[in-house]
């Protein structure tokens, strides 16, 4: 009783706070990172800018969470609805916790001399630019602006992946850049086609690029051209999601970039790209004469899941291992949205959240582990439970969660997905189970030595911030045990919206 009173007064205070400042939460989500980019670009001291980076990310998260007060907004340019508000909160939250991890990670890299302040000069502005660009993509109603947001987010991550300037890092960034640009170019062509389809019905100009007005009139669109547009969008944004035939950039970019960037790539950027794809899938679903977008997503999702399951067995690099695990989970999520229907969509939304929290937590642990052991080779990292028990517990919990074991949230979403699939398409469910078990086996096989083998390597002390790691794991655990009623209701609304 007392807690609910203090909670409501706190909420009233926050609402009051927003009436005092000259910006709305929506503007703050977009302008905050932009201001931080400029500020961080000027400031040369990396310690201070790391702190500022945390502060700016925290404020952006606060603004993102405040969107809940007034979750409806639309113009032809921007939109806030139930679907994207949840992703904005997730994105800004993970960006915030990652910035805390990043500060301690970068501090260690400077100490060991792997990074110099000169190389780091543009790291923090780029980080903020990436957050801002992802927020733009998420709240864009104009599908052109959505594309711009994703493109800018991609370019900033390309530059951050190459930050170590080792031959491997340069190659990874180059590969990421080439494949990412080709993907994004195809997505742009798809966007133009969508506009062409829409302008016949909606007339020329901005309304014909606004997603919500397209959705309303979708049944009158030319189905053939719309289907063709979706193929381009699928290959384009699918590349960014890391779906299986187009995934080649993903493991390299995860393994060679700094670990905070691996965490946001897996946890956020893949989600945002998938979000873009889903927006277009909704338009297609509203027009019955088009190709069956759901079926295409099911096929791509299954291919990604099973392919990544097999690839997990041959990994020797720990970050690469978890990069393939991200491909696997994006496959699961894509499959869920492909199946559609209230339950599968619910599972997809929940899995998106759980995967992004869990995978970034794992990368936080892996980042510190790679730093204390001085290597990313799985064979050289042994017996963590003896040498670094806290990190070992963090990693073990993360792996248990990501492998889909109860009581963590990933289990909940996978269970929901499987039960809904078994009811409708038992054979497909068998394929999904096969993929999940495959990946589970690989993770246990690869990581048992890391956790419980003979301790090896330097028993270096860790100077790590455990808070983000265990905060994420606690959230995933809490979601697995009990989902609060408002969250469930909210996911249900969005799941119904997704069709």
């Amino acid at each position: 009783m007392i807690s609910s009173v203090s909670l409501s007064s706190a909420l009233a205070f926050i609402a009051e706070l927003w009436t005092r400042v000259p910006v709305t939460p929506l503007q703050a989500v977009l302008l905050g990172p932009a201001a931080a980019v400029i500020l961080l670009a000027i400031i040369p001291w990396y310690r201070f800018s790391a702190f500022l980076n945390v502060l700016a990310s925290g404020l952006t998260f606060f603004a993102g969470a405040s969107l809940l007060f007034d979750p409806r907004y639309r113009t032809d340019i921007l939109i806030v609805d139930d679907f994207n508000v949840y992703l904005v909160i997730l994105t800004t939250f993970v960006a915030f916790t990652t910035s805390i991890f990043s500060a301690s990670y970068i501090g260690h890299e400077i100490e060991t001399g792997r990074l110099t302040p000169r190389l780091l000069r543009y790291y923090h502005p780029l980080y903020q630019a990436m957050i801002g660009a992802m927020n733009v993509a998420l709240v864009a109603n104009n599908v052109g602006l959505l594309w711009v947001g994703l493109e800018v987010a991609t370019l900033t991550t390309v530059m951050m992946v190459g930050i170590y300037r080792t031959p491997e890092a340069v190659e990874a960034a180059w590969k990421y850049f080439i494949l990412g640009s080709v993907g994004i170019a195809l997505a742009f062509f798809g966007t133009i086609l969508v506009y062409l389809v829409a302008q016949e019905v909606l007339g020329e100009g901005l309304p014909a690029m606004a997603w919500d007005s397209m959705l309303k009139e979708a049944s009158r669109f030319d189905p053939k051209l719309l289907s063709l547009a979706f193929v381009f969008l699928l290959v384009g944004y699918g590349t960014k999601v890391g779906l299986a035939p187009f995934h080649a950039w993903l493991p390299d970019a995860h393994a060679e970039g700094p670990t905070p960037i691996s965490a946001v790539l897996s946890g956020l950027l893949l989600n945002v790209a998938l979000y873009a794809l889903l927006r277009f899938k909704m338009i297609l679903a509203a027009n019955t004469a088009t190709i069956n977008a759901g079926l295409v997503l099911i096929v791509l999702g299954l291919i990604s899941l099973i392919f990544a399951g097999f690839m997990l067995y041959r990994r020797r690099d720990i970050k690469r291992l978890f990069a393939y695990s991200s491909i696997e989970h994006m496959g699961v999520i894509t499959f869920a949205f492909g199946m559609g229907g209230p339950l599968a969509n619910f599972a997809g939304l929940l899995h998106m959240t759980m995967h992004s929290l869990t995978k970034s937590a794992i990368f936080f642990a892996v980042g510190h582990i790679a730093q204390v052991k001085g290597t990313q080779r799985i064979a050289d990292i042994k017996g963590l439970s003896a040498s670094h028990p806290v990190l070992a517990v963090g990693l073990a919990l993360g792996v248990i969660a990501i492998a889909g074991l109860p009581p963590f949230g990933v289990f909940t979403s996978e269970f929901m997905l499987l039960s809904s699939t078994f009811a409708r398409q038992p054979l497909l469910a068998v394929a999904v189970v096969f993929g999940l078990v495959l990946a589970f086996g690989a993770l246990i096989l690869r990581l048992s030595d890391v956790l419980f083998g003979e301790p090896s390597g330097p028993p270096g002390k860790v100077k790590a911030t455990y808070a983000p790691l265990f905060l994420h794991l606690a959230l995933v655990l809490a979601a697995g045990l009990w989902l609060p009623e408002p969250v469930v209701r909210w996911f249900r609304t969005v799941a119904a919206q997704l069709g």
């Binding site: 100009g205 063709l228 990994r315």
Partner: protein, 223 residues
């Protein structure tokens, strides 16, 4: 229905496609740069013509950006880089010029077959423009695949973006937001590529991307 507006638009888009083919078989980097500049000029003329027949003067901005940036500034800068690195000699091709050209022809046929039959309500001009644009995009992709050299991959990518701009301006009344963003992204692309060219140079004394392949992350474990 065939009037002069249609014919000129056709001619300009067609010449862009022809220049895409010319790009495919060049064997010197300087020649590649010159052909790319020509293609950018053709693009800017084509966009300007679209501005005229669609009575959309804001497209002229896009035309000017294409002309100045991609027609002159970027080729000049790349010429300078190439000269300084001393790599204006032969380009290593993965596939010979003959098969590449044949493959390119196939891609053009593919894009015509894909785009022309669908969307009968869209004007023929827009559809033909789209077919041309898609062909230019696919040929740009082909160029990026068949050349190992980092500079020619840049050119392939920018030629691909030329196709995108052609498509965007062919779509009648598409909001300006997008055109500016495309021009902007080309600029960013150039900056990024520039950084990469220098980093690659720093590391390997070559801009041959093939030299990077031996550093594939997974392989280094075996040594």
């Amino acid at each position: 229905m065939h009037n002069i507006g249609f014919d000129v638009a056709h001619l300009l888009a067609g010449s862009m496609l022809a220049l895409s083919f010319v790009l495919l078989y060049q064997d010197r980097i300087t020649a590649v740069l010159n052909v790319f500049a020509l293609q950018a000029i053709a693009l800017s003329l084509s966009v300007a013509w679209q501005a005229y027949i669609q009575e959309a003067p804001h497209l002229l901005i896009t035309a000017v950006i294409a002309l100045v940036l991609k027609g002159f500034v970027i080729p000049t800068a790349l010429h300078r880089i190439v000269r300084r690195l001393g790599i204006h000699r032969q380009i290593d091709e993965v596939i010979g010029a003959g098969p590449t050209m044949l493959f390119g022809l196939g891609l053009v046929a593919l894009s015509i077959l894909l785009v022309l039959p669908v969307g009968q309500n869209v004007s023929l001009l827009a559809r033909e423009d789209l077919a041309f644009a898609l062909a230019v995009i696919l040929l740009g992709l082909l160029m990026m695949i068949t050349r190992y050299n980092a500079v020619t991959q840049i050119i392939g990518f920018m030629s691909l973006e030329n196709g995108l701009v052609l498509a965007a301006t062919g779509a009648k009344g598409m909001p300006l937001v997008v055109e500016i963003s495309v021009a902007f992204s080309v600029l960013i692309a150039f900056i990024v590529f520039g950084i990469f060219v220098f980093r690659i140079r720093e590391r390997f004394d070559t801009v041959d991307v093939g030299a990077l392949d031996q550093f594939r992350g997974e392989r280094r474990d075996q040594t």
